[in-house]
């Protein structure tokens, strides 16, 4: 009995808003209206994250591109040349970078958003606003980096003389799924992190592990056919495979993509519910 809902007046014609504060025990008292009312704050919080990210670094925003590019170089030498991973006729650097664009986004935003509530404890204990904005804004802030690296990806594709495919129209769908996946996992972990700071400790290890089990630097076809479904239970598998299939005009692995869509939406939902459930005590634990 320690839950409270904050309802805005249902009558949108009322000149004044009525705020009701009461303990409620709802599983899902989700106020999209509240979120919408504070949309500008989402923008300003994301803007703040972007503005301060590269302050006092000599290279500034160039780091956004250097990180995946350097990783691409390392992967190309290690996995492309030495291990000789087969990538279905796609030049290995391009193959690696197309995966890294999404992975870097997932890695950075989940990392940032998982720690976002703890890092913004001064806000949470002093002022009211929909708490979900904090982890979501951490993901939104990563969109700028994602866009920049997409331009580099296009550059690399032109360099390797990749043709245009109609399937490229599907690419935005996989980008959207990547963002939704980051929001779902990020908001779930951020709320858990308020109570259990272990999350912070476990996170770097967990993310590294996640990268290795996802087809970032190898294709799903590396696995024997009968085991691919297991790898596809990772929502990132369908996203990465689908993104590449749409970019390079290859056939979609329908099972992997479908599983991925279902899992991403479920994770988003679970993330939001868990967040709402834990949100009530944030101010008391921070």
């Amino acid at each position: 009995m320690n839950k409270t809902t904050n309802e805005l007046s249902a009558d949108s014609f009322a000149s004044e808003q009525i705020i009701k504060i009461k303990p409620v025990n709802n599983w899902f008292d989700f106020s999209l209206r509240d979120l919408w009312a504070y949309r500008e704050l989402l923008y300003f919080l994301a803007l703040r994250d972007i503005q301060i990210r590269y302050k006092q670094t000599a290279l500034g925003a160039a780091w956004t591109l250097l990180q995946p590019l350097l990783t691409m170089a390392v992967f190309t030498v290690l996995f492309g040349k030495l291990a000789g991973i087969k990538t279905d006729d796609i030049p290995y650097p391009l193959f690696a970078f197309s995966g890294l664009v999404l992975w870097t986004f997932i890695n950075t935003t989940i990392n940032n958003s998982s720690n976002s509530l703890v890092n913004n404890s001064n806000l949470i204990t002093k002022i009211f606003f929909p708490r979900l904005l904090i982890p979501v804004s951490a993901v939104i802030a990563g969109l700028v980096d994602l866009c920049l690296s997409l331009f580099v990806l296009i550059g690399i594709m032109i360099f390797y003389a990749q043709g245009f495919h109609l399937s490229m129209l599907f690419a935005p769908l996989f980008l959207l799924m990547t963002v939704l996946l980051a929001i779902g996992v990020g908001s779930f972990l951020s709320s858990l992190n308020v109570r259990f700071r272990d999350v912070k400790m476990l996170l770097p290890f967990g993310l590294q592990l996640w990268m290795f089990v996802s087809p970032v630097f190898y294709p799903l076809s590396l696995f024997p056919e009968k085991w691919r479904w297991v790898v596809s239970l990772n929502p990132l598998t369908g996203i990465l495979e689908g993104f590449r299939a749409s970019l390079f005009g290859k056939p979609f692995d329908v099972f992997a993509v479908a599983t991925s869509i279902v899992l991403t939406i479920s994770l988003l939902f679970i993330g939001a519910v868990v967040f709402k459930k834990m949100e009530n005590d944030f101010a008391d634990y921070l």
Partner: protein, 420 residues
């Protein structure tokens, strides 16, 4: 006029040590394994009721001061009304836009410029972009930071920082303004400016809820007062009556405060406060003291563990909330010697002809230094009034009008005459 705030039976409980409890997954798993049904026995001693069945109504345009000693539940109440934390029981209804200012400069980021921070902070406080744009020049003018708008605020002086932060909040224009002890910082001019701005807000028909230890500010700003004690409302009425009730304790006088119940007494495992008292030379508890007479301030405390060097200290504040002085116990005997377990009475002697006329509030504390550790602090524990009977033998001389100043020592003068 209708009520703008209605609070019904609001209660809030905390589990003692909630901050330490199960903060790691391992602890959580272990405690769940050890006692899987632990959640069912919630009614044990580890629950602290920060607020117990609070009821009140506030009408549109009222300015209400909420006062009380530390731990009385003031901040918890404000946090519930500002929707930062949720009540355990009860309901509250607020009609209108709420602006809460529990801290000046919430969300300011040191790396961002003044301009960037105005927009960010405004958005955090719930202002729309157009609204901020409309008031931008006003905010900058109020804060007097025109020249430094594009400088990161980390290069601001603390005064500029405070001015800018308050300026943003002051231009929020909510129907209900909730303000916690934000005036404890900043210089006098700034404080005055803030208070005037808040008075403005109140006069424009807005409702203000104000928490402060600055009695004069509360008295000047608020028409109505609510006194909280141990999580309950113990007085509700005109501000002056409520201030008097606050300064008077159970004992019926503001000059004596006593804790009969060990549980509620300020203290920790090392020491516990028993009684604080203001008295005259002869040991009689006195609320009003002649300016010429010595004032004795006394704290009685139990030392429960004998391994620490303990330093009693008194902090004297005047009614404006200005600290007049702080005095540490420097007796040779105890200065570097841990005190054995027992009951102690430490007395401080304030000479006559030293403090000016007026009311003084005393904060009582017991600390250990090197390293710093505070065993108890009781804010505004006792108070007394210094009066001058106008007998002509004080620093006042024969002047009977208003005489400003915090102290009024009777000092020695020397005048030489030369022929011209």
């Amino acid at each position: 006029m209708s009520n703008i705030i209605t609070v019904e039976n609001i209660s809030k409980s905390y589990r003692l040590g909630a901050k330490q409890q199960n903060t790691t997954l391992r602890d959580s798993i272990i405690s769940t394994l050890k006692s899987p049904f632990a959640k069912s026995n919630k009614d044990d001693d580890s629950i602290l009721w920060a607020l117990k069945e609070i009821n009140f109504e506030i009408k549109r345009g009222e300015t209400v001061g909420i006062i009380g000693h530390n731990g009385a539940g003031k901040s918890t109440l404000l946090k519930i009304l500002s929707r930062i934390t949720k009540p355990t029981k009860g309901e509250a209804l607020l009609k209108g836009r709420v602006g809460s200012l529990l801290e000046v400069g919430t969300g300011f980021h040191a790396e961002l410029t003044g301009r960037e921070n105005i927009f960010l902070n405004g958005a955090i406080l719930g202002m729309r972009r157009e609204e901020i744009l409309k008031k931008f020049d006003e905010i900058v003018a109020f804060a007097e930071v025109e020249k430094f708008l594009d400088t990161p605020v980390k290069f601001y002086s603390s005064g500029m920082y405070m001015r800018l932060a308050f300026a943003v909040a002051a231009h929020l224009e909510p129907e209900i303004l909730i303000v916690d002890e934000v005036l404890a910082v900043g210089d006098i001019t700034f404080q005055r400016k803030c208070l005037n701005k808040m008075k403005d807000v109140g006069e424009h028909g807005r409702t203000v809820l104000f928490v402060s230890h600055n009695m004069q500010a509360v008295a000047r700003l608020c028409t109505r007062g609510i006194l909280l004690r141990e999580g309950q409302i113990s007085a509700d009425g005109t501000m002056n009556n409520v201030i008097n009730a606050y300064l008077k304790s159970d004992s019926g006088t503001a000059a004596l405060r006593e804790w009969k119940d060990e549980k509620t007494a300020p203290g920790n495992a090392i020491a516990r406060l028993v009684r604080t008292r203001v008295c005259d030379d002869e040991g009689n508890t006195k609320e009003t003291i002649d300016i010429r007479k010595q004032i004795v301030v006394e704290m009685t405390y139990d030392v429960l563990a004998s391994d620490k060097v303990l330093v009693p200290n008194f902090h004297f504040y005047n009614e404006d909330g200005t600290c007049v002085f702080i005095s540490h116990n420097m007796e040779k005997e105890w200065r570097y010697t841990p005190r054995p377990v027992g009951r102690y009475i430490s007395k401080l002697f304030v000479p006559g002809n030293f403090l000016a006329e007026g009311r003084f509030l005393i904060t009582v504390a017991l600390s250990t230094y090197l390293p710093l550790e505070v065993h108890f602090v009781d804010r505004d524990s006792v108070s007394f009034t210094v009066i001058d009977n106008l007998d002509g033998d004080t620093a006042r001389g024969d002047y009977a009008g208003h005489l400003p100043g915090i102290v009024r020592p009777l000092l020695e003068w020397e005048t030489e005459r030369e022929d011209i």
